[in-house]
């Protein structure tokens, strides 16, 4: 018979200052490290704009505060509100399509007159993994066929709504966060292989019926960036030149010519890794990747230590989605992947995505610091 290890030692450990304030010190340390890196890289990428750096650091402050607030809620509390959040989120996405604000050819924003303007798809970034985790977490794993179908429905309704805005990058990432939860739940291999086999015709269908002209252009440009060096291929050619010219050790902080002379478009947002790569070289990129790997490792530890399926699937999905952000962004800037509008987590300039990201880490911290009992054998 297994004993519940309620040792005085264990109690003391649980009662550590971090547990009491529901903050994971490792994640917080890594986030602060990334914020520091961001301050330097952004200062250079923005053309030495101190106000921009200050604003970004303010976003960090807001985001970290929000993260700590979220961490105070018990996972169980979040679990209760998942269905409401999902339905609400889906309705907001519908509202975007009906009455959303258009910018740069896409309708992504909801404006509450006089108050604020926000992207409901950002909310869905968090709600999606929670929804899948909520649905699958209540059942025995691995999911049955019927459960897989329901899960896919849960995933694809918001995905399609976001795709319609149109926002290919975000919709794919949100779908991915749901699918990750499904995969972690032990989706059977035969389904996985079957889905992969079905993917090719589905991609063809997407190309002809769903994708917009500019989205197709991005894919075509990705396949051959030199075909249109001054048009849509410009970004990739210039970012590759920026990265490549950095060499092993880089040109030095503030010495990057590509970004400082404005050859690099979006140098402070989606393409910021090119600035880092140009100025700090391969060494800098590897160090950054190392920090990211530590974040992911910590996320995985939290996943493993989580106490129920909901928490495990949610934490795992958040961790893997975080990695996908990193991979897709660096892959796209370095010309491995098509250009999709995905910011580099913690480094790209922008408040909304940063706050969403930190809210996700708040959930991770909540999962880590609200364990009621020790389930370990």
């Amino acid at each position: 018979m297994k004993s519940i290890p309620v040792s005085s030692h264990g109690l003391r450990r649980r009662e550590s200052i971090w547990m009491r304030i529901h903050v994971d010190p490792w994640l917080l340390l890594l986030i602060l490290a990334l914020a520091t890196v961001d301050a330097f890289v952004l200062y250079s990428a923005s053309g030495k704009s101190m106000p921009m750096v200050v604003r970004q650091m303010a976003y960090f402050a807001v985001g970290i505060s929000a993260m700590i607030v979220v961490a105070q809620f018990q996972p169980r509390f979040m679990q209760r509100w998942v269905p409401v959040a999902y339905i609400g989120g889906a309705l907001l996405l519908l509202a975007v399509l009906l009455v959303g604000t258009e910018a740069k050819g896409a309708q992504r924003w909801l404006t509450i007159p006089g108050v604020t303007r926000f992207q409901p798809s950002e909310i869905m970034k968090l709600v999606m993994p929670m929804s899948v985790a909520w649905y699958l977490g209540r059942r025995n794993l691995p999911p049955s066929f019927k459960q897989v179908v329901v899960t896919l429905t849960i995933i694809f309704v918001p995905t399609l709504l976001i795709l319609k805005q149109p926002d290919l990058g975000t919709s794919l990432l949100i779908a991915a966060s749901g699918i990750f939860a499904l995969l972690l739940a032990g989706l059977r291999w035969r389904y996985i292989i079957g889905a992969l086999l079905a993917l090719a015709p589905a991609a063809a269908g997407m190309w002809y019926f769903v994708m917009h002209g500019y989205q197709k252009q991005r894919v075509l440009t990705f396949l051959n960036p030199e075909s249109d060096p001054l048009g849509s291929g410009w970004n990739i050619i210039q970012s590759k030149a920026a990265i490549g010219s950095g060499g092993v050790f880089g040109k030095g902080w503030l010495q990057g010519t590509q970004s400082h002379l404005d050859f690099l478009p979006e140098g402070h947002t989606d393409f910021i890794i090119a600035v880092l790569a140009e100025e700090f070289g391969m060494v800098g990129v590897c160090l950054l990747l190392g920090v990211y790997l530590l974040v992911i490792a910590r996320g995985m530890v939290i996943t493993l230590q989580a106490q129920d399926a909901f928490c495990k699937l949610l934490a795992g999905s958040i961790t893997l989605t975080f990695f996908v952000y990193v991979f897709v962004n660096i892959g796209m800037v370095s010309g491995l992947l098509p250009v999709v509008g995905v910011p580099l987590p913690f480094i790209s300039y922008g408040g909304t995505s940063l706050v969403t990201l930190l809210l996700g880490f708040g959930i991770l911290m909540s999962i880590q610091t609200h364990k009621k009992w020790m389930a370990q054998n």
Binding site: A241, G244, T257, D262, F263, M282, F327, S334
Partner: protein, 627 residues
């Protein structure tokens, strides 16, 4: 059967998630490995390639146009210079919305539709990416200020200071100098794109065109660091351009003014040549035009007015005006006769007022219908007797005339550096066979003897043939250039000097031409009245064959334009020729009466001060010798 109770098996779930998580970790490590490999590929393997690409991005080479050489007259008076001017430039690649930009410029600068259209046309001639193309010139201070205030709304639009060609004498030297204008598409194909990388102007006509290479200079370069929008951030390296050479011409501004004043309001041409060098001292073609209009691009209205004017101001009469030389050719025909031995100085012809070929009833009239009686060569030249020259031409035949007179440059381009020069025409029987597939008729020889018929010469050729008499056959091709900072006109293709069998014939003809002006029976004695030096000359009239557009103009004007052109050639002083002049007055009728005084005025302006200077020098020398 009892349904199994589904209990949540947390350990089972945890194991499933754990297995999948390990799998994910493997994937993640693999993908991070792929990213690192990609970075290695870009930053290590392809480092050279990308750093070159990045460097090329950053560094642009900008051409610096050389300053065009100035043009001076023989005394250092500036005839063509470069004036700083503010122009509006547009870099098309930096403009976000071209139509909107033009709209805004139109309202800011209060441009007319035509100005705007012209600016757009200029912009369309851009040659290189990120080239800033000047589209408007001579901006006023107010316009510059308006652009500056609205700069933020006008990306790609700049105000640049540049040099623009300026001709201070405006229409007075238009035909002599020519002008520069914007490089057009046709010229673009023939010029060296590297040498003209920063240059927007090229010589279009005249000296500006002929000496384009000397005037243009050598382009310089500037390596500049630019941002993606083409804005120059700093200069990395600079190779200075070499300015074009300054040209000093043989022209004399004062003499030119005298010639123009003597011509007055009449249309015509005056050319003065120094027989000892071939230097062109005066080059007048009236009416002229303001070449400054052409520099930055002439408006349609201005160009239309010049092109359609009945006075043909754009027509370079000195070089392109081909007129029958008339009686001015007679001294050379006389020389031909003497040299061929068909007549002697004293052989005489009886003039009843006309000449008849044997067995032909047609009478070739002398201008003096009553006839001059017995005339010899000297008298025939002084009186401009036609009958004598009909007879002489008949004795010579057209082909001997052609061969001899061609030595004087008739029917050939004579100048070294005058771009547009027409060849004129010295007919011969073979020429007529080739051209018209017809035999040469003896009657055509007769009228060729008095410079009519097929024969055509430009005022420049008339001046040159006269200069050859003055120099006793020593050839110097007419040239405008005196010196281009050490570069001298190319005299390599000078025709051989004219050798007469009896060189004393030069003196005889010169004396006969002096009689034209200074004997009691000379046709131009009035023009020489009161002269302090001896001069030689010959009058002539050129029949006006055809008229350009007709009926639009009133008949009085038309009649005026049907009158003969007055011609006069001459040189002075007779003993030591300093200057040879040809003058043409269109529809002026009397050669000696109308064109003669023009030539005399030019003589006086050139010869008198020089003779006085010589005398003073002579006095000074004799004083020195006396001491």
């Amino acid at each position: 059967m009892a349904k199994p109770i589904h209990l949540k098996d947390h350990n089972h779930d945890a194991r499933i998630v754990q297995r999948r998580l390990i799998l994910a970790a493997v994937f993640i490590l693999g993908l991070v490995g792929a990213l690192v490999a990609r970075m290695y590929y870009l930053q290590v393997t392809q480092y050279e390639y990308h750093s070159t690409l990045s460097e090329n991005n950053r560094v642009h080479v900008q051409p610096i146009p050389p300053t065009r050489g100035r043009i001076y007259d023989r005394n250092g008076v500036v005839l063509a210079e470069n004036r700083p001017s503010f122009s509006l430039t547009i870099t098309r690649d930096r403009v976000e919305d071209l139509p909107a930009t033009f709209e805004l410029l139109k309202s800011l600068l209060e441009l007319s539709e035509e100005d705007a259209a012209q600016a757009e046309r200029r912009l369309s001639q851009a040659r290189r990416p990120f080239e800033s193309v000047p589209v408007m010139f001579e901006l006023t201070q107010e316009q510059i200020a308006r652009i500056a205030i609205n700069q933020f709304r006008l990306p790609g639009v700049d105000v640049q200071a540049s040099f623009v060609r300026y001709y201070p004498f405006a229409d007075h030297f238009a035909h002599a100098l020519g002008y520069v204008g914007r490089i057009n598409e046709q010229e673009l194909k023939s010029i060296d794109p590297v040498a003209y990388a920063g240059t927007h102007y090229i010589g279009k006509t005249g000296i500006e065109r002929y000496y384009e290479q000397l005037l243009h200079g050598t382009v310089g370069y500037e390596e500049v660091e630019t941002n993606a929008r083409g804005r120059v951030l700093r200069v990395l390296n600079r190779t200075d351009p070499i300015p074009g050479r300054d040209l000093t011409l043989e022209l004399d501004v004062k003499l030119q003014q005298v010639a123009e004043e003597a011509l007055g309001d009449r249309r015509g041409a005056v050319v003065a040549i120094d027989p000892a060098t071939g230097g062109v001292l005066a080059f007048v073609s009236k009416p002229g035009f303001d070449p400054n209009l052409f520099v930055t691009g002439i408006s349609y209205a201005d160009y239309g007015a010049l092109r359609d004017s009945l006075d043909q101001p754009l027509f370079n009469r000195v070089l392109r005006g081909q007129y029958p030389p008339g009686s001015t050719i007679k001294p050379i025909v006389a020389l031909a006769g003497l040299d061929a031995g068909v007549v002697t100085r004293t052989s005489r012809v009886y003039d009843p007022g006309f000449y008849q070929l044997p067995n032909v009833s047609h009478k070739y009239r002398n201008w003096n219908r009553s006839g001059d009686g017995w005339v010899d060569m000297s008298y025939a030249i002084a009186r401009s007797n036609d009958t004598y020259f009909y007879d002489l031409a008949n004795k010579l035949g057209i082909d001997r005339m052609h061969d001899f007179m061609s030595q004087f440059g008739i029917g050939q381009r004579v100048s070294i550096d005058m771009y547009e020069e027409a060849a004129g025409l010295m007919p011969s029987s073979s020429w007529k066979r080739t051209k018209y597939r017809q035999p040469w008729y003896p009657g055509e020889t007769l009228i060729a003897g008095i410079g009519q018929g097929y024969m055509l010469a430009t005022p420049l050729q008339l001046a040159q043939s006269t200069a050859l008499i003055a120099s006793r056959g020593v050839w110097h091709r007419p040239r405008l250039l005196k010196n281009a900072e050490g570069v001298l006109p190319d005299e390599s293709e000078t025709p051989p000097n004219i050798q007469l069998r009896n060189p004393a014939d030069w003196d005889f003809i010169t004396q006969a031409m002096q009689d034209v002006m200074q004997s009691p029976h000379g046709t131009a004695r009035a023009a020489a009245a009161g002269a302090t030096y001896n001069m030689a000359g010959k009058s002539g009239t050129a029949q006006v064959v055809a008229i350009a557009q007709g009926e639009r103009y009133d008949s009085a004007a038309l009649r005026e334009r049907h009158r003969d052109h007055a011609l006069f050639v001459g040189f002075a002083p007779t003993e030591n020729p300093m200057i040879a002049v040809a003058a043409l007055v269109e529809n002026g009728e009397g050669g000696g009466r109308v064109a003669g005084p023009v030539v005399r005025a030019v003589f006086d302006a050139w010869v008198v001060p020089r003779l006085e200077a010589e005398q003073q020098q002579g006095h000074a020398e004799s004083r020195e010798n006396g001491q």
